[in-house]
Symmetry: C3
Subunit: 417 residues, 3 copies
Amino acid sequence: TAPGYAPSLRSRLPLVAFLLETIFILLFVFFVKIEQPEQIDREYDSKLFISSYAEFQDIHVMIFMGFGFLATFLLRYGFSGSGFNVLLAAMAIQWAVLMNGFLLPQRHHKREIHISMKSMIEAELCAASALVAMGAVHGKTNPVQYKFIFKISHILISSIMLLHVFGALFGVMVSWVLYREGIEPVHEKEKTDRKTGLFAMFGTLFLWMFWPSFNSAMVRDHKWERGLKLTVIYGTYLSLAVSVVMAMSVSMLTSAKGKMNMVHLQSSTLSGGVAIGVAMTAVHTPWIAMTIGFCASLLSALGFCYMKNHMLFAFECHDTCSVLNVHAVPGILGWFALLFLRLASDESTIAVQFAVYHICVLLITACMSLVMGTATGPTTLIHIWRPQQDRKCFDDQAFWEVKGFVHLHHFKYVTTP
Amino acid sequence: TAPGYAPSLRSRLPLVAFLLETIFILLFVFFVKIEQPEQIDREYDSKLFISSYAEFQDIHVMIFMGFGFLATFLLRYGFSGSGFNVLLAAMAIQWAVLMNGFLLPQRHHKREIHISMKSMIEAELCAASALVAMGAVHGKTNPVQYKFIFKISHILISSIMLLHVFGALFGVMVSWVLYREGIEPVHEKEKTDRKTGLFAMFGTLFLWMFWPSFNSAMVRDHKWERGLKLTVIYGTYLSLAVSVVMAMSVSMLTSAKGKMNMVHLQSSTLSGGVAIGVAMTAVHTPWIAMTIGFCASLLSALGFCYMKNHMLFAFECHDTCSVLNVHAVPGILGWFALLFLRLASDESTIAVQFAVYHICVLLITACMSLVMGTATGPTTLIHIWRPQQDRKCFDDQAFWEVKGFVHLHHFKYVTTP
Amino acid sequence: TAPGYAPSLRSRLPLVAFLLETIFILLFVFFVKIEQPEQIDREYDSKLFISSYAEFQDIHVMIFMGFGFLATFLLRYGFSGSGFNVLLAAMAIQWAVLMNGFLLPQRHHKREIHISMKSMIEAELCAASALVAMGAVHGKTNPVQYKFIFKISHILISSIMLLHVFGALFGVMVSWVLYREGIEPVHEKEKTDRKTGLFAMFGTLFLWMFWPSFNSAMVRDHKWERGLKLTVIYGTYLSLAVSVVMAMSVSMLTSAKGKMNMVHLQSSTLSGGVAIGVAMTAVHTPWIAMTIGFCASLLSALGFCYMKNHMLFAFECHDTCSVLNVHAVPGILGWFALLFLRLASDESTIAVQFAVYHICVLLITACMSLVMGTATGPTTLIHIWRPQQDRKCFDDQAFWEVKGFVHLHHFKYVTTP
């Protein structure tokens, strides 16, 4: 290709997409059925359906609208931010329905996978984890590489902690391996402006507003009567309210000129929801939720200001959306809060068992994500995927017709005399 | 008027709006009542209300936010896109409540029309059909003409197929009649840029996310217990997920430079929802839904690339939002799928009856829309409506103060010494 | 500070925020608990929860997304519009939970405040009232001043009328006191453009779409069975539909060039919801709702065109978002409609009692808001809060890094050799 153009994905992306979709449809033919309503108590189902469809839609909006528009904060990468988000989440959901069905024994009956609201919510949470991982390599990989990372990063999400910590650490490791040697540490195109800031604010707000539903969807239904779902909703809500105040304050405090930074705000604002999501099963009073939100947002905002650049310059690890500070650090903080609250409240024997179990889960998650991340990196580097040039990082022009006529495709009709 | 200015609608639009609103209110005085809750079983009503209000709101968001912002994709026509959409949909709903009440016997009791969640959902679906028709003449007609076309294009929407196919064909015919002879085939103002692409993405996503509610709202409530509503939701969801992947792939494949086009993506992404909406009553397994989404999106994206321009240059029919490819073609595809699935599953006699009936419905719909479209065109052309000049097509400046001071009206206070 | 820079809030905002959050958390430790689900009938609770959580979320979206993006209409004040909105609403909610708990006897049991969906909805309505007041001083005060005004303007919202009329009159009085002598009446930065118009449209639509939920949330649950909630939803919906048509018509009619103004449209469109919200308990037929929407929108749009500037030039009261015309005037109109409808329908003795009571409420509200507004003004003026300079009104640059690199904080890493 001529030096002026990014390598075209015309021969890669459509082929991969056609192939994957054909495979998905074939697998769906043989294995996937819609859950038969005859199997369920109808009265119960009708009530549960209303609430679980509402829950599903809140999460649906968060994944497609929230993550999608949060990713538009880069000045020249808005189309890719929202477009690739839809593409990847749509594929991840189909993939997650299949994977969850094959790997979780309770999901398949007589070698059949049954689709239900529950399995669709689980699929969206898997997509969320993968989208967190994507945040770290945002703007530096092409959609074919994205898809590849996606397939690998799929994991059975059995807890919110796994979702955030695994997703974030995995993404950071991939980003570390993919570090481009020759590139300027601060890329000239990694910028924001007034309008993209508002688009990203818009995605942030959708995530922020529906986070209580996101956390409460992970609470199992049979616990409903003990009021845990309500407690989680109130706790997440208050934690996020404190979080947004602290994020703005710290952003102003750490700035030399005393000016807030929209990108900091958009990230740290959400950290309260991450932390409380991990700790939620042990949080029973509002003030604990608020304190967790307070600390998570403080840590996250400070991390954004100091650790992000330290990672970049000391470790050559460029983390575009700062997922380390938004998901990993608050996730681990929430995990410590959970441990501490459990140790304080339970009897000592159970508490110790719990502690040992949870410490193991965290360590295994961290190791797996680091190893898988490091292993995934090089395979995405191979030239067959046609990574974009350094100049074309954070730039839509590598993949999109960014401006022009609506009748673009056959403009030759007009221009030829 | 001087050549520099678009003809002002100041003496037209307010007059028409005042008149119509007065007539509406008068008709509401004599005929429309709110459904009395005493008439309904309360326990049932309370449960049904929760679910039907949620359904109504999803559709409400699609009509006003989804269609409204999808129509902002033109660089200089954003205010008109979202503003006229609200204006027309708000009028269409009042009109539809009256029309549905007068024309459907089951809606009026003792010469009274009763407003209920159901009648409001139906009114929004009628507005949707009219907004589809508007897509074809988007940017080339003024709001008074819009209103006129709206009144005509109102139809009793008894099926999703009618909604999409009638709306699209009607719109295309009107656009064909309204073709401006002297205009350049590719208008210099028919352009997009980075920011309008994101605004339109935003509308697209709202349509995309809530489409399962849109389709399932057409499923009657007494069929609820047979699980059809759930099947429709899952099917629409999967069909749309496949659709978005295929739309991007085809958009990249058909581009010479291997670059995706946001406008193509935004349109073809939704075709899966249209097709499955028409076929939904016969689709019982996920893979059939996915296959329908696959084919609809393929056809729609190819149609966008090749047929849209062919229509323009061969038939002089300019279809701004390409409603032919987004609504008519997937609608007819879904109709064929429905026919085929019914023929395959039912007993032969019923199947043949069904086939004959449905073929008649399609033919009648097509003929009616073509005839009505052709007839509506010329009446909107008459000079009394003050159509904008060719230069002012796709341009907000004909109707809006596009930029300026908030205190604009009495700026003379300031500028006069 | 040098003349070129706005006074930095670095030493003010973080300090105030830290302090307030610490106090809030301490108060929550001692007084606030989550409502125990054991106290409630479970079957009822589960059903009520679904509907009240949905109601809460609609209002949540209106407060954070609707008000937030409506406030982005100024060209150079988008970050502050949406950012400060989130900051203030998040603090207001914590404050309102405490205040409502301390001041309303039925909210605290044995010196404890119990958080429930109902108390959270009430807290959001208090935030709404404060945000209405903020509209009048939008762009002319810094966030520390905002916070201060917020604390004062908090009031126990026991009716929609109080919310709108108190909020608006309070805000206007504060704005009148804060009038900057030396400033040009039409500030050079008080402008809109194509893109900010769309962002604001977006916020407007969220408010517009969910307003039926906003009004119906104020209807007490035990009245449910009498169908009042449904009547309010239909009424608000129809009133808003008429309102949007009239707002556009009047905006075009009052413009010399026959062009609509997006800012007028965005404001007046909502007036129908305000007026019907106040009158709703007495409105039982659709046409009355539509007539109220018709009149409210007419008055509001005319007020926007003529009264807003009159207020500015005659009384030196600059009302940025024109809350007087959007909230106060339609609120009082709705109040008269309520009075008239009650007088017409009730028996004479009750009606007179009602009239006397309501006239007193209006007068007390008006007096309180005027007095409190006038008293609040000067205290916000004191130099300790560091008000921005005249030049920096309506300008994000006083508070935000509006454009630049994502790695902004430690850009020195790179620029130092």
